[in-house]
Symmetry: C2
């Protein structure tokens, strides 16, 4: 058993060398809560070791954000310091790499007026759209990783004491990101090869539709005609191969905007802007959510769907076998980066241009013609379970089993 320091070091190395794949003379931007400072310093050193030209930190604090949501005048929530958004966009245009440490303390927003949270989220999303399109379309190499905070670990292990929670959560993270292997980088190469094989298999099939069937779910999702299945890694405009999420277990693609019909029931709670939405069902007609009911968080679910018109349409469908390391851990992480890799999922909101052939070169109009959905949100939620069946349907209506009892058939 190696020391914690050893694993943390490996985790940072995995992020910089494999996930982000920092190139010589590249600027690296780290977007992070201040609570992750220790890890940020490790990443910074590793980035310079990898030849980074500069490391710029974009610090953030959820407590300060919550104070703003609670106490700033409402008009302020409609404003965003554009110099900050433009600065990020400028660095993206110049080919920087972006590493986001995802460690939200969303409990802080619990007692904030949901209307104010929605206004602020929309303002931020709109202001950062120019910057985020560089990431969404994989024009630059980017990465999202998580880092345990006291708040997060308390959600996953409420029964443990403060110190044990963090240790336990680190153990899980090291395991689920293969950092506990003797040679994590080699383990990742092997893992990427397996996911890529699934991706290639699905791309040769050229299914017209997927049919999901499970408890409370009977859903047909038409895929975009030019859809591309994507797994694990992508290539940036400059030709850098990177893995935008660590961990990653999914193979995903783009639904045709108007082609989803039927009903789907969530199988895991969804944490959205500090509030939990649970036991919810959505009914789709021609791609649009026409009915939405939740056992918990009905109001928040409605607010989410009302963000903009695109928030009622799908932007992603992803396949993850029930027999995956994250699912097998038997834990709910209340963190999309982990939970989405435990289960088949779909996302409401914005599509990824790189999930259709030629998409990153298309104009907004061309994207729309090809089934792309545009929205300020992209919210994944889990629909997979141990009893889920998925069929692939060809254009002529014939079916092929893809998943049986939650796993690849």
């Amino acid at each position: 058993m190696e020391t914690f320091e050893h694993y943390l070091d490996k985790y940072a190395e995995l992020a910089i060398r494999v996930g982000l794949n920092v190139q010589k003379d590249q600027t690296v931007v780290i977007m992070t809560p201040i609570a992750c400072a220790e890890f940020v310093r490790k990443l910074t050193k590793k980035a310079y070791d990898a030849g980074a030209k500069d490391v710029v930190i974009d610090w953030d604090d959820d407590e300060v954000k919550a104070l703003r949501m609670k106490h700033a005048p409402e008009s302020t929530l409609r404003e965003y310091p554009m110099w900050r958004a433009n600065g990020m966009e400028e660095m993206a245009r110049d080919g920087a790499a972006f590493l986001q440490i995802y460690a939200p303390n969303s409990d802080l927003l619990k007692d904030v007026d949901q209307e104010r949270v929605a206004i602020s989220s929309k303002t931020t999303a709109t202001a950062r759209e120019g910057f985020l399109k560089y990431l969404r379309s994989n024009q630059v190499n980017w990465l999202m990783v998580s880092y345990p905070t006291a708040e997060w670990s308390a959600k996953v292990f409420p029964e443990l004491n403060e110190q044990d929670r963090i240790i336990k959560l680190w153990e899980q993270i090291f395991k689920l990101t293969r950092v506990d292997k003797a040679d994590p980088l080699a383990a990742w190469n092997e893992h990427i090869a397996l996911l890529t094989a699934k991706q290639d298999m699905l791309n040769t099939k050229k299914f017209k539709q997927l049919h999901f069937k499970g408890e409370g779910t009977d859903l047909y999702i038409e895929l975009a005609a030019k859809h591309l299945w994507v797994a694990a890694g992508s290539e940036s405009k400059a030709g850098t191969f990177f893995i935008p999420n660590i961990p990653t277990e999914e193979v995903f693609t783009m639904p045709a905007r108007s082609g989803t019909n039927g009903i789907v029931r969530s199988t895991l709670p969804l944490s959205y802007q500090g509030s939990l939405i649970d036991g919810f069902s959505l009914r789709f007609e021609n791609g649009r959510v026409v009915e939405a009911t939740a056992e918990v968080g009905q109001e928040v679910l409605n607010k989410m769907l009302d963000m903009d018109e695109g928030a009622r349409y799908l932007g992603e469908v992803a396949l993850v076998p029930d027999d995956s390391p994250i699912s097998n851990s038997g834990l709910i992480y209340y963190n999309t980066l982990f939970d989405e890799n435990a289960s088949c999922h779909i996302a409401l909101g914005n599509s990824y241009p790189f999930t259709i052939d030629g998409g990153t070169q298309m104009s907004p109009e061309q994207l729309a013609e090809n089934g792309y959905n545009k929205s300020l949100i992209h919210v994944d939620f889990m629909i997979g379970s141990a009893d889920m069946s998925i069929d692939g349907l060809y254009a002529d209506g014939t079916r092929e089993p893809l998943f049986r009892k939650g796993n690849w058939a």
Copy 2:
């Protein structure tokens, strides 16, 4: 005896209400190391309570900075993300208030090549000049306060254990900033009135020169013809009265750029960019340092003087009696904000435009004609002691005693 929380709250209130004097609908920018997060959140809440429109935090981390100094390519040290500097300038132009929390961990720079530190400092100072001129000329309300970090308290109380050091340093700060008084705001009003009386007295005298005499010091400083003595507070362009430094015990003004002659010896060590300069003497001829010797830190002193031509000329002369609360505490704080308020001091580098009559309205050429010194640095160092005598000299050469044995005569 009140709780620590009580005093910390009062300290934040003093900063927001008296020091910065936040106005309704003003944006407040807090520039701070991430180590001061707890205090930043308190200040943020107080700022909204005072009617602030928005609170923007500009986080910073000395460890990340040190990693950059050590490991970034040298060409990077000559670059600054201009979007960041321009953003700060934009907010200053729009009338924001700026609060800087001064808690440097300069030990981190100890083992960095001084040449690289100097390059980086110069780049940063040049990039931020447009922004800083708003503060230097008091166009906006601004404030500098300190916050104890583990590193700082270790310097002041090396003999104590880690926990006691911080407690002891907080006790000192609360005392020296009058936060321990029953009504700190009333105590400050009284203190400001006393300092303002000294300022007004000196302004009626219209001295031509000051003559400093002490151990190793025999220095004549000619004052700028239009010099204004300034104490405690200033008024921003928008008419807000603010106290830019907490604590403050000084009355200061502008020397005439070419009018300093003689020799001066430092009476306290100077911490400059992570290095200590101690026991140093400077010889001036017609305003310019022509000879500089230090018992400790000769190389760093040379680097500082070579920053630019203005670094060899004085930009400020300040009077502080030896019988001041900070001096009476008998401690060296290794922090200019405290040490400069314990002792008479002079500063090498940039002058403050508001220390000559009409200076904030003058063009750079007009400022130069009136004795203003321009430099990227402004470094205060202490020259006062219990044996210092200061005379004021009128234009006709007659003398008036100002200080005897370190205190007001």
